[in-house]
Symmetry: C2
Subunit: 465 residues, 2 copies
């Protein structure tokens, strides 16, 4: 591990201190825009978030363009006035957010950012507007203080991360000359624990499906028809139950074929992290955990693939009793993938499994909603070491190496198309409710994150990538 004697440069720290309120105000303005990319009724809001970000990047000195796609636009901002020979670094983030439902479970409204107990609560606070905004603030700190940056910087922000980033990889491919860079930096993940800065070693990939089971052409009276007609909801339940064996392993043929075990040293490192399973259960209010046998909880979350139900709908779900035999039933299912699983291969295995177990008497369709490749980091070299020093300077302790159960499908795309290493340093925290009601980011992490990122530019300027 590198020595960690770097400190946050005095001028940058001073500027961030002096502008703290304004940077909060700006973030709150960003968070108030309900840029829910999954919902067509929010298309204008999503466009408004892009325009807002465009204007801010332009204002701090970046040459900015909003690039249309067939979906939501990309915001592309460039600053290329670094000294000759300085590397170019690309910062990626996303300005779209998850749907806020169920609304009734939010303590304060999803799109009215609220400071409470040292946390900023809002949809998008941690995923990813707060973290993207920390990057913009760190860049502004340099340009406002020194009128320059030590490296050339490209900021690329998309509006479709929460719906599969369909248009990002084609965009990178098409503009790969312009986006050429020595490293990609992404802050869209969480630290291991409060006060413990973290560098991510891995991300899980994703294969997301919707399965629709259609039975009779109408909802039926469950008395008049029940017992002779195949019930689509019951058929769906049997299909879902077939996804796992009795022990909790995924029972889809071929599912584990491409899974590459993590090296023993990484597994040992993960086992040595201060993780309290009792606290974890207490935090979730569950009496027992589940999942695949033979792995610790952190290994299950970071290194093993899953098949999880995300949503279920059939028949009558309102108040009281309605004696209906539903005409159809729907499940949303997503598999988290680990190296070297391929989402397209998993999709074929999933569809084949569903078709094989579907009973006669119902029609079953499988729709792949989106997918992304899993990823593992290079944990050596100047990029990694600069990040370690910058995090240590801002947080006062060396970062740990963690895994991440979530997916940022584009990480692999950046690495593959641009041929650049990707650095994942995030400032979320466990329990941040990224896709749930009461999403939050720690205000302390937001502030230290801005300092770490501002410091990182100096480190990269001095040591390269």
């Amino acid at each position: 591990m590198t020595k960690t004697t770097t400190t946050v440069p005095h001028d940058l720290a001073g500027w961030l201190d002096a502008n703290d309120q304004r940077l909060h105000d700006d973030l709150f303005e960003f968070l108030r825009i309900p840029s829910v990319s999954a919902r067509t009724e929010h298309n204008k809001d999503t466009a408004r978030a892009a325009a807002w970000l465009h204007e801010r990047l332009q204002r701090i000195g970046f040459t900015t363009r909003t690039m249309p796609t067939k979906g939501h636009p990309l915001v592309l901002a460039e600053w290329r006035k670094a000294p000759a020979g300085a590397p170019t670094v690309l910062v990626y983030g996303h300005y779209d957010v998850q749907p806020p439902e169920p609304l009734e479970l939010w303590t304060s409204p999803a799109f009215e950012p609220t400071l409470r107990d040292g946390n900023i609560y809002a949809r998008g606070s941690v995923d990813d507007k707060g973290q993207l905004w920390a990057h913009v603030a760190a860049l502004e700190a340099h340009l406002a203080t020194r009128a320059t940056l030590p490296v050339n910087v490209i900021v690329l922000a998309e509006g479709e991360e929460e719906v599969g980033s369909d248009h990002l990889a084609p965009f990178i491919e098409k503009h790969k000359a312009q986006l050429a860079c020595g490293a990609v930096i992404i802050s869209d993940s969480a630290m291991f624990a409060p006060g413990i800065p973290s560098i991510l070693s891995s991300l899980r990939g994703l294969a997301y499906f919707q399965v629709d089971v259609t039975g009779p052409n109408s909802d039926l009276h469950s008395g008049m028809y029940g017992g002779a007609v195949v019930n689509p909801a019951a058929a769906l339940a049997r299909i879902i139950a077939s996804f796992h064996d009795a022990d909790g392993r995924v029972a889809i043929a071929g599912f584990y074929d491409a899974v590459r075990d993590f090296p023993p040293a990484v597994r040992e490192g993960m086992k040595s992290l201060p993780f309290d399973e009792g606290d974890f259960k207490k935090h979730l209010d569950v009496a027992a955990l589940g999942g695949e046998p033979g792995y610790t909880t952190l290994e299950k979350l970071w290194t093993r693939p899953t098949c999880e139900v995300n949503g279920l709908l059939s028949g009558y779900t309102g108040e009281g009793a309605k004696t209906v035999l539903p005409g159809k039933a729907m499940v949303k299912v997503s598999c988290r993938l680990v190296p070297d699983q391929d989402p397209a291969v998993v999709a074929r295995a999933f569809e084949a499994h569903v078709k094989a177990v579907a009973p006669a008497g119902v029609k079953v369709t499988v729709t792949t909603l989106h997918g992304g490749h899993p990823w593992r980091a290079e944990l050596a070299g100047p990029l990694y070491e600069s990040a370690s020093r910058a995090l240590a300077a801002a947080f006062g302790r060396k970062p740990v190496i963690t895994g991440e159960g979530g997916s940022i499908p584009v990480v692999n795309d950046f690495a593959r198309i641009l041929g650049a290493p990707v650095l994942l340093i995030g400032f979320g925290l466990p329990g941040e409710n990224a896709h749930a009601p009461d999403e939050w980011i720690s205000q302390d992490n937001f502030r230290r994150g801005m300092r770490a990122l501002a410091t990182l530019w100096d480190e990269l300027g001095a040591h390269g990538v």
Copy 2:
């Protein structure tokens, strides 16, 4: 089988002909009241339907009272001026209706009755306002034409049939002296086929449950938590899948213990009914049927118990993909029961089964929403024979004996508390969508039903019950 030389009395037929439009107009007015008993926001509408019916029964010459309950009121109307020694007959029906959802599947609005292709389309048209109104019309035919009825008549209409009739049995118990009668007549069922009048031999009972599975105390990010936390939706699917064995038999321990096989003669009679399984599948648009092996489709529907899913809800069910691990999942399940299954015994077996199969890591609660006993008819005696003659007179052919897969839980209550035989003659038809969008009653059945019921009063007056 009795000889069927009875005809519809000329004066009654003439009156029904002359008043046909007005009787339709009145029914449409009744159907426009959205008396959805399951929804508290419709409480005023349900009360309005009771008041409307009260006023009509009063107007035709019945002494009518609206009797409050802790739920929706009962309408009790009496006419007791028959010749000394004449029997008293009780007519039961219900003025409440099922919820109309999903609204988008109605061709014409649920509460705007519409005549189309010879059918009256509206929520409640066949279940049960149309059939209850046919009774009122038949009684009015007598009183308007002859200023008298051959028997004493009690009309008892409730507003909670679709939510379990919770207050009806206690009401009958409390007022059993006033409700004492020689027979109970109910029209809340369907004929076997168009043109084939039917007398019901059996009804299935009901035990309706909601199962709630609670996991973590919030919806979680499926990437950050997936693979280590027990997924409530997946747990629910496994619970549901355990309700049946691979062959389609209910796999709840003790479920079939009290089931009494139907007599071979009844089974043979059912097998001889003109039932085309190909047409049945085509009507439902399914390629195959399901259910318990070893029984014909009609036997499955009329004589065998079931366990059907009525509704499923968990997690994200909107447009697109949301990578959420749901905090909870819910299923509504109802068992149809046959003699001599007891809903309370089945409820205990169901709850024990669910608790036994529920995995660790989730909390599972079972709520019994309502229940009702199954029933078998006496198919002999003057009540049955009068009904046969009256139906034959109105429909031009002898009735057949059918079963019914649906439940009218109160039938057993009437039989048990009043000690009177119950006659079930209904005028619905297969495919009537009683609990689904586009509910309808055949206009021809509505007209012939009024004639059959008007004729029935003369038969009962002449032959007793």
